[in-house]
Symmetry: C2
């Protein structure tokens, strides 16, 4: 370890900043930064203005957001390519024990067979502009942290609302780029009629399942085709038979000849959250306090939810997406914890900050302005750590079960609705309420009382060992020596008595005032009411914390910028970013080199006949038959399955198209390699690799296995 | 699997024969075949006569056999390089709980500190000649199989004795090259004073232990230095302080600059046994009948011996070599079984033999001569399978415990000693008796009654479920419902009463006649006496089997030769062979490439602080300090640890020097990669790789960690 760490130490400082001339592969570049990059020098073959052009159309306009994922338009009739795991809920929702499309795959024979993906929206970015000055005009130095946060939040909402008023039918969001420092206003179009077109069976789309998740070499066909529809007038509309396919402004060309090792590739997408500019204290807090609690609780849920649904295919289907989500985070966090340990990241961050402190202390002015930043960050996280177990318990108590989560939404809505629009919590603003209600109804439809009882029972049991929880009047009588019996009694009675998780009841409850809800005498609403005061306290405390942290974080970034003499690329925050790299392997350990293209051969090698490595017989026959059309790799002699590349991605990059030097779609991003789970904290060229489905595999499976030739023709692919 | 199997099917036929011009990497070539090879065309840079020269000295004369391993002379004062695991027993024997040289490493500061390796001999090949005609002159067509075997055995012994008479002080052995077909007489010199010079600690010499055994990437420093001594007159002599270092005829030059990926390398050694020319029926018998019984019994012994010695360092040391040997075979067999399955070897051999049968049947003469060969082989192994469980049980009963093994040797000796020399079993021939007694005494010295009681108890328990065993009068009263109690009673009494496992008693017993032994009233001798009739029956039956099989096997080889129009390289049989290949990696599965050089970096990566991955602190410091002298790889920037190459090796190649194109020692062979455990049945360039310690690691460890600069100077290595 020692030597490796020494090497990494040298690398960590340079990789977290934009080197003005030399370009590394790190960086999730906001569109506003692209003009600082010389993409042609690193391999791009088309004019950069074709990628992004604030004054006209460009490839960026062929990208959209589907749910939490990225999608791309691949035909002029609204056909979109995204991941299988992004379409998972839609496939599940159209599935039943009789028609199990997850197992069989879903293929719409004609356009009329395309199935509504209820609850899915497609978001298209229309424009954006920097509004930092306007936002920060509402705060002043020395302002109380909580007031600061609230003032900023309010201003962000006001700007959004104003923008929406100026652009009827559009939605506007202000995104914070650097914490407490830069803010950008995005204008979006939302399409609301989204349909499922083609999905391979889970045995292909999720081949390798949890076992292979976050792993390379990979052989997953993690892709699905969906389609966006609009009203006959071309405007966004709810589902209707009369709707027509959406005509995207830009259609991405499918590069069916694929990539070779060494090829330049780039990715657009909406990466979620990274933490590369945070302090050592943050990393220590996260890895030693926060993540272990999450890993423990998610692990418990996975084990117990899976066991509870075993053998009941209906419940298995209902819980599948939820368990998959838990597993994904669980394994990711374990990868992160392992990576922090492997790279000795805490020690190296500490050392960096020691050097930074020396720099600060070497100048009186700097010491006056920044001398306390690091120690105050330490202090901040020490205080956070004191209540982390309780804070998380309270969050899980109110959010881990669908029942409590719905009850909280209903209860909170009855309070928030009485506030002016710009002072409401985001979910309860008039402009967002439809979306909130929508997701309430969806959850109510797949609601599993058995799972919820299990989860609530366990959380109430855990309250016993958390002193702040045990003292809450709402649960105090369910702890102690007789606690478990009381918990069981409460849950038995509550699930029997409550009518809350019925869609109609929920819709009605969302109209009610607090006192009307109280009259319902619903046991879950009563429990939420009891937990609401500490919840509110925590919510407000989090605003205060954010206000405090934002200022410290802004100071830290400013002094790091001075120390390194360079600007940073802001951490990912769910807004549109570009990252580039090459198709290339890596060495996870001495003596082992992972190569960047996998093939059909590997599917047969992994086949065990059992989930998650059960290759359908018909698919095996197709592989052995070897009719690969134009989709075989010239040297490998077979269809490449997955590709590995050195771009900089994180969660939210799922479904992002992988584009070649000519801007053609050559793959579909869906995962990162195990060592790269640490990307969120530290990107490094030696281990940071993302994983995509090769477009040749997408096309070959859709054609030969799915029989959906119509889609290949629609995408103008020769075969 | 399907596709891979198809590919392999095409490969298997060519690789099991010598292609007269095109040279593959397969082949353990007897020295007699070397003139058929164009080694210069594949990369050798020196004249082939420098490698092997029947009329003069060559590199071959720098090779020796140490115990079951190969060694090489690396100085003109008898300094030999071999594997740590080959010197293991010697290190253990000089170790004690007070001076644990296995843990600490052994380093003789001066030549006077070099420690006698009791029981070790060094064998040097002086000459050889083909004696097939003389041997086969004693057999005739249609001879009874048992008589045939005995006649051949007797002739082989006569030839050996005659040769020894003609060369006083030398030893001669006739080796069977092709079963029942070709025989070669070897003349050997045996050196009897062997001493331990330098061995790294187990934490280096066996780094990775059982976990890494048969695995690549590897980081084991599996090397030791020993030295051969002779009497002051230069003749072989037993240990004496007056002895002087042996001056080898040829000293191998140490190539301290090492190898690069792609370099040509070759290996001399004494590979044990391969089975590439056997029938499908043999392979089926071995994998379905024989190996599962061995794996089961070895697995049981490993688990129970380890558990029984836990916490008792004295017993752990005493049992270490035994457990290590069991583990090695256990894991190797599991690798083989997995490989047979992975490559679908049974099905592909069946298919080859179907083609062979078609060839045979397509010609009347061929059908008359060979039409029944395959079906008779099937029949032969069907009959073998009927008694395999019992045959193995009986062997284990008499050989798995040291006590019973000694008792059997003593008992059998009392019978064999009355026969003429050439009719005795090998171990009891006057010329071999010293060696037999020697190993008896060595075993008695480390004899562990607790382990033996465990093993005998279990075997007696197992007799219950083996009908042929249960019926033996000697154990019949220890089976049945009351059997277990009787077994315990017998063992308790027997170990208390028996005096057999005392060196002096054993020596005396080896002088006794059968009736004198009976008078000893030793419980183990009594048990052996009871088991001896079925043992004798099995021994004679095995000679009959060998006679039957040899003829069938010779026929099979002859018709395969006709079918393929090519000669074979004979299967390995413990005689001197040469194999060559390149330093190269391989792909164990899709998307993974293993590279052929590992480095010190990997040792730090694997370090867990716990066995078998506990890197000594002082060694870690040395690695981090980075003072690699001339031993760093120019591109890797550090000392390479292990190397991987595509030669053709098997058990017995341990310790073989890896030689470069100029005939210099660049490594020390010690293992094969996991996929290559199947080598014994089917070699293939895609997966067959052998593993060696890089000479640069040997030199760097010996120098920097061992402080044995004197050895580097003795080898004329610059540092």
């Amino acid at each position: 370890m020692l030597r490796r760490v020494n090497v990494l130490l040298l690398l960590i400082i340079p990789v977290i900043c934009i080197a003005p001339k030399a370009l590394g592969d790190e960086g999730m570049y906001p569109m506003s930064e692209l003009d600082k990059l010389d993409l042609k020098a690193v391999g791009l073959e088309i004019d950069p203005s074709l990628i992004y052009n604030p004054d006209g159309l460009s490839l960026v306009d062929g990208i959209c957001k589907i749910g939490g994922c990225t999608g791309s338009f691949v035909s002029d009739e609204g056909l979109m390519l995204t991941n299988h795991h992004c379409a998972f809920r839609a496939i599940r929702d159209v599935s039943s024990p009789e028609h199990d499309f997850l197992t069989e795959g879903f293929s719409a024979i004609t356009r009329g067979d395309e199935a509504p993906a209820v609850g899915y929206t497609v978001r298209i970015t229309d424009s954006y502009r920097d509004v930092s000055a306007e936002v920060l005009a509402v705060v002043s130095a020395g302002m109380d942290p909580e007031k600061r946060t609230k003032a900023i939040e309010k201003k962000m909402k006001e700007l959004s609302l104003a923008e929406e008023e100026a652009h009827p039918g559009k939605r506007a969001e202000v995104s914070e780029m650097f914490l407490g420092k830069t803010y950008v206003l995005f204008l979006y179009t939302y399409l609301k009629d989204v349909r499922l077109v083609y999905s391979p069976p889970l045995a292909i789309g999720n081949f390798g399942g949890e076992e292979d998740n976050w792993m390379w070499p990979r052989h997953s066909g993690d892709f699905s085709f969906m389609r966006a529809y609009v009203g006959p007038d071309g405007e966004p509309a709810d589902y209707s038979e009369d709707n027509v396919p959406y005509e995207p402004k830009v259609v991405l060309e499918v590069g069916s000849e694929g990539v070779q090792e060494g090829d330049f590739v780039f990715i657009f997408g909406y990466p979620g959250t990274t933490y590369r500019h945070r302090s050592a204290a943050f990393l220590r807090y996260l890895s030693e306090q926060y993540m272990p609690v999450v890993v423990d609780w998610y692990g418990w849920q996975i084990e117990n939810l899976v066991a509870s649904a075993q053998g009941d295919r209906g419940r298995e289907l209902a819980l599948a997406a939820r368990v998959k989500g838990l597993q994904n985070t669980y394994k990711n966090f374990r990868g992160k914890l392992q990576g922090i340990d492997r790279l000795d990241l805490l020690a190296s961050r500490d050392r960096q900050e020691q050097h930074l402190q020396l720099f600060i202390d070497s100048d009186t002015q700097r010491r006056d302005n920044y001398g306390q930043v690091l120690s105050r960050l330490d202090d901040y996280y020490t205080r956070r750590a004191e209540t982390t177990v309780f804070d998380l318990w309270l969050r899980y108590m109110l959010r881990s079960s669908e029942t409590m989560s719905a009850a909280l939404t209903v209860w909170e809505n009855s309070i928030e609705k009485n506030k002016p629009e710009t002072e409401r919590e985001w979910a309860y603003m008039a402009r967002n309420l439809d979306q909130t209600i929508n997701s309430l109804v969806i959850k109510a439809d797949t609601y599993d009382p058995q799972a919820d009882a299990l989860i609530m029972g366990e959380l109430l049991r855990r309250a016993e060992s958390i002193s702040q929880a045990k003292q809450l009047p709402a649960v105090a009588d369910m702890t102690g020596s007789e606690g478990q019996k009381k918990v069981r009694k409460f849950l038995d009675g509550a699930f029997e008595k409550s009518l809350l998780m019925d869609s109609d009841t929920l819709l009605k409850a969302m109209e009610m005032d607090t006192d009307e809800l109280e009259e319902m005498n619903d046991p879950f609403l009563q429990l939420v009411a009891g937990l609401y005061p500490p919840f509110l306290e925590l919510r407000e405390e989090n605003k205060r914390r954010k206000g405090e942290l934002d200022q410290l974080q802004a100071s830290l970034q400013e002094i790091k910028r001075q120390f390194q003499g360079q600007d940073f690329v802001p951490d990912a925050n769910g807004t549109l970013r570009l990252t580039f790299g090459r198709v290339e392997g890596y060495s996870p350990r001495d003596g082992v080199r992972l190569t960047p293209l996998t093939t059909l051969e590997g599917i047969l090698e992994k086949d065990t006949g059992m989930e998650p490595f059960a290759v359908p017989e018909r698919f095996k026959d197709l592989i052995v038959a070897g009719d690969f059309g134009p989709f075989a790799h010239p040297e490998l002699g077979a269809v490449p399955v997955n590709i590995l590349y050195s771009t900089d991605t994180t969660g939210g990059n799922s479904g992002s198209p992988v584009l070649n030097a000519r801007g053609q779609v050559v793959g579909l991003n869906f995962d990162r390699a195990w060592e790269a789970t640490i990307n969120d904290f530290a990107w490094d060229h030696s281990y940071s690799r993302s994983i995509g489905v090769d477009i040749r595999y997408v096309l070959w499976v859709t054609w030969k296995f799915g029989g959906a030739e119509r889609l290949l023709r629609e995408m103008r692919v020769d075969f």
